[in-house]
């Protein structure tokens, strides 16, 4: 029975992403705080926050509909499933073939759809502002992501993340312009999708600058906990995708080495993100389309330049 260990690995992966996600968020916050010469909260603060939120009452707006109450669980579940499909410490997970990179992108799109609708449900102007800006950002980030998938698929001959990771790890891919462009584009998309600094500020509560926070303004208690956890999972997911496409080291050397390598990659990503966030200023909202448009163009350029490399 080869199914049982495979199922086990899949289960471990699902638990692992769930457990590690708040840690990554905490690490990034800590790095940012230290760089700003603050002590900052401990790296396990996100876990405490989640615990606190889970035990609080939900204060629900009077005209909230069922959609508002269902949305947090949908967002959480969809993001979790998407994160479980990305190879983290091992490739060839049991269910990884149930969705490829395109499906993962679309699953995150479903989560965003639910989030934006929930933001519109109470009927406040903050919900509207958050939702309308979020879909504007997504309308550029999602095509960019799909173009990245296209350019990676052109090299690896697959949109399946497991296959891509194996291909990148084993065959002599070498330096590829397409991959370099894809990496830059993917980082831009990841910053935008996770509401990180040049696009949105995860720590702000200043009305005019917030996108993601405006959407979740009316949430409280366990609902908010679910959404926060989903946001952490999404950050982890993007880091994992970047790691498994562009830095697939350790994936092929057994579970233990894979796990250690994965933890190292997460730590590096968390630190880099923190450093990046303190060293750059937030953009105006209407500067964001140019930023993301650049990602889309880079990915498209990568696809075009792929044909130049065909000479070899």
């Amino acid at each position: 029975m080869a199914v049982i260990p495979a199922l086990l690995v899949q289960g471990v992966q699902m638990a692992l992403v769930l457990l590690l996600a708040p840690l990554l968020t905490g690490l990034t916050r800590k790095v940012k705080a230290r760089l700003q010469r603050r002590q900052g909260p401990s790296v396990i603060q996100p876990y405490r926050d989640l615990k606190r939120l889970l035990h609080k009452d939900v204060v629900l707006a009077e005209n909230a509909s069922w959609l508002f109450r269902v949305a947090p669980y949908v967002i959480f579940a969809v993001t979790w499933v998407a994160a479980a499909l990305v190879p983290t410490f091992a490739t060839g997970l049991l269910f990884s073939w149930s969705g490829d990179l395109i499906a993962i992108t679309a699953l995150l799109g479903s989560a965003r759809f639910a989030q934006a609708l929930a933001a519109m449900d109470i009927g406040t102007s903050f919900g509207g502002i958050g939702a309308s800006r979020e879909v504007m950002i997504a309308s550029l980030a999602e095509p960019a992501m799909l173009m990245i998938a296209l350019s990676v698929a052109l090299i690896a001959g697959s949109t399946q993340l497991s296959t891509i990771a194996d291909y990148m790890a084993f065959s002599a891919v070498g330096l590829r312009v397409t991959l370099a462009l894809g990496l830059v584009a993917l980082v831009i998309v990841a910053l935008a999708e996770n509401a990180r600094i040049p696009v949105d500020n995860p720590a702000t509560h200043l009305e005019l600058t917030m996108v993601h926070e405006a959407m979740v303004l009316e949430y409280s208690g366990r609902h908010l906990a679910m959404i926060e956890l989903a946001a952490s999972l999404k950050l982890l997911l993007y880091v994992s995708v970047i790691a498994c496409i562009f830095f697939p080291f350790g994936l092929a050397h057994g579970y233990v080495i894979g796990l250690i390598a994965y933890l190292l990659k997460l730590a590096v990503a968390g630190v880099l993100l923190g450093v990046f966030e303190v060293s750059i200023a937030k953009m105006r909202v209407f500067r964001v389309p140019n930023f993301l448009g650049a990602a889309l163009m880079l990915a498209l350029l990568g696809v075009l330049l792929r044909f130049v490399s065909e000479g070899m």
Binding site: L54, D57, V58, V59, L60, A61, E62, S65, L67, Y73, F76, A77, V78, W80, V81, W97, S98, G99, D100, A103, A106, L107, G109, S110, F113, A116, L117, M120, D121, I122, G123, T124, S125, G127, G128, I129, A131, S132, V135, M136, A138, S139, L140, A141, E142, P143, L146, M147, L150, G157, S158, Q160, T163, E207, L217, R222, M226, V285, F286, F307
Partner: protein
Amino acid sequence: MIALPLGCIVLLMTLALVGAVVARTASGGRIVYGGSLAISLALLLIALLSIGGGSSTVTLPLGLPWIGARFQLDPLAAFFLVVVGLGSAGASYYALGYGRHEPEPQRVLPFYPAFLAGLTLVVVAADAFSFLFAWELMSLASWALVMSHDREPGNANAGFVYIVMASFSGLALLLCFGLLAGATGDFSFAAMQAAHPSPGIAALALVLALIGAGSKAGVVPLHAWLPLAHPAAPSHVSALMSGVMTKVAVYGFIRIVFDLLGAPTWWGGVIVLAVGGITAVLGVLYALMEHDLKRLLAYHTVENIGIIFIGLGLALAFGANLLPAAAALALTAALFHVFNHSVFKSLLFFGSGAVLTATGERDMDHLGGLIHRMPKTAFAFLIGCIAISALPPLNGFVSEWLTFQAILLHPDLPQWGLKLAIPADGALLALSAALAAACFVKAFGVTFLGRARTRVAADAREVDGYSTNAMFVFAALCLLAGIFPGAVIDLLAPVTQALTGAHMPKQLDVAWLSIVPVETARSSYNGLLVLVFVTISASLGVLAIHRFASHALRRAPAWDCGFPDPRPQTQYTAGSFAQPIRRVYGAVVFRAHDTVTMPPPGATAPASIEKHIADPIWDALYAPIAAAVWWMSQALNHLQFLTIRRYLGFVFAALVILLLALALWQ
């Protein structure tokens, strides 16, 4: 098998006559719609049974005496008959409830069965004459339905634009068939297939087919009539026009280009790809600028037609390079999207009809909060919104995913034009999918969520059982096609086999009901597993939290950063929701800009904001034509006031010139 659909058509035409008689009676609607429902279900059944079989043909001594009328039922026709049967069955069932609110049933009931007959007849026609006859029957019957509420503002104009564009499309198809019939003058499809037109003729025929069928389907820039005419008709007819008639137009295109034209050419693929990409993105951008719910849906039909044409263009490109497996994948994706769009667009138009019945409003900015008043409609409409936004695990995602998989095969193509055009089209497809999701957040959010903006929205009532049941059936179809896509793909195998000489690998044999377009290592998707996983994870989350943490809940006024505004007018409207996108994309495409007028300090006048949106295609294409026609008619007007002697002089001169031309010709 062909006799049965023809029998259904005869029954439908009879029903049209009956409808004219019983229209004013109380039970008229029930007779007509009930009859249409029964016949449509029969059609659906026939089509499903005959899709795997071979083709059967019949020649009836009708129409032109020396030709007769040929009809045939091959896999392609059978598949589109499934779409027609399903769409009309749903619309008829929905109309059993919705039709009761019709103020003037005598203007709808006779034409409705005739419209269905026209749709069916186009699909089974097997010679140019009966095809064009059926095409015009379809156009005229739907025109009559569009004009059924001609006193409402804008509807008469919509009908006028529609009839002009429909005539234009008929003319283009007539010319196209004329070219294909060639020197022999045999108008049967079988003869056209056997003839091999020269490349020049084939190119011209392709362009004419694209214009003729494309204008009926709503391809940019020939889409102008669609957002006017579809919303003007009663909602069940809108559903048929958007969900089914545009698909019949796609059928016309596929029949001519894939079946009659013979070997495809790669630059034909480039043309279709370019048209498809532009149509998809412009359609959704137009929809985003819209605040009328039914017009928004109509513009989305334009977008989805674009997606279908992208798939068809890919199939042409692969077919021209003798890659039948890839062509089969692309064609499967396009046909799958035909099916999907007919299902969710019908569903969405039913929903908008329900909102119209309940509130009398089509303007989203006068609605809001309907999820509380109309929970069933809201739920079904939500399913439709998710499906059309191409989000997993529903059906819209599957067909767009398949289209992407076909795009990924493009490095196999030798032509540089295609190698570069197809990724660009992929970007356009991705852009339109993301924008569609944005647009349906807006459509659902503004209409059904938030607080009611007007009295009518606050007092809305859930609609009757027929309407909600029809919506639920179609919502269930969206889900089923999304989680068991293999069944649909296998159903399409005979169709692609007949048109491209290959079909996708059998999907129902794949383990766990995944779909695998090429091979598992390359790409696979399993909607069922995704749905099961999401359901399990969400339930796990709920269970764990309610068991081990708090499940207390308190209702309170909205927080809104401490400044809740009691007036529902301060909510985001359709226009304000689209403002960021209008600014990013609209500034380029629509020359959109906002003018803010601030009163001087101290003045009590309110500030105002005004948005300006120009329709580039109307301004660049239609307005000059209309102006030219106007100028010509002005210039020729004085011909009306001449003496008899002068008129005779014109006739004489015309005769002499023609004779002269004849003499010179010989």
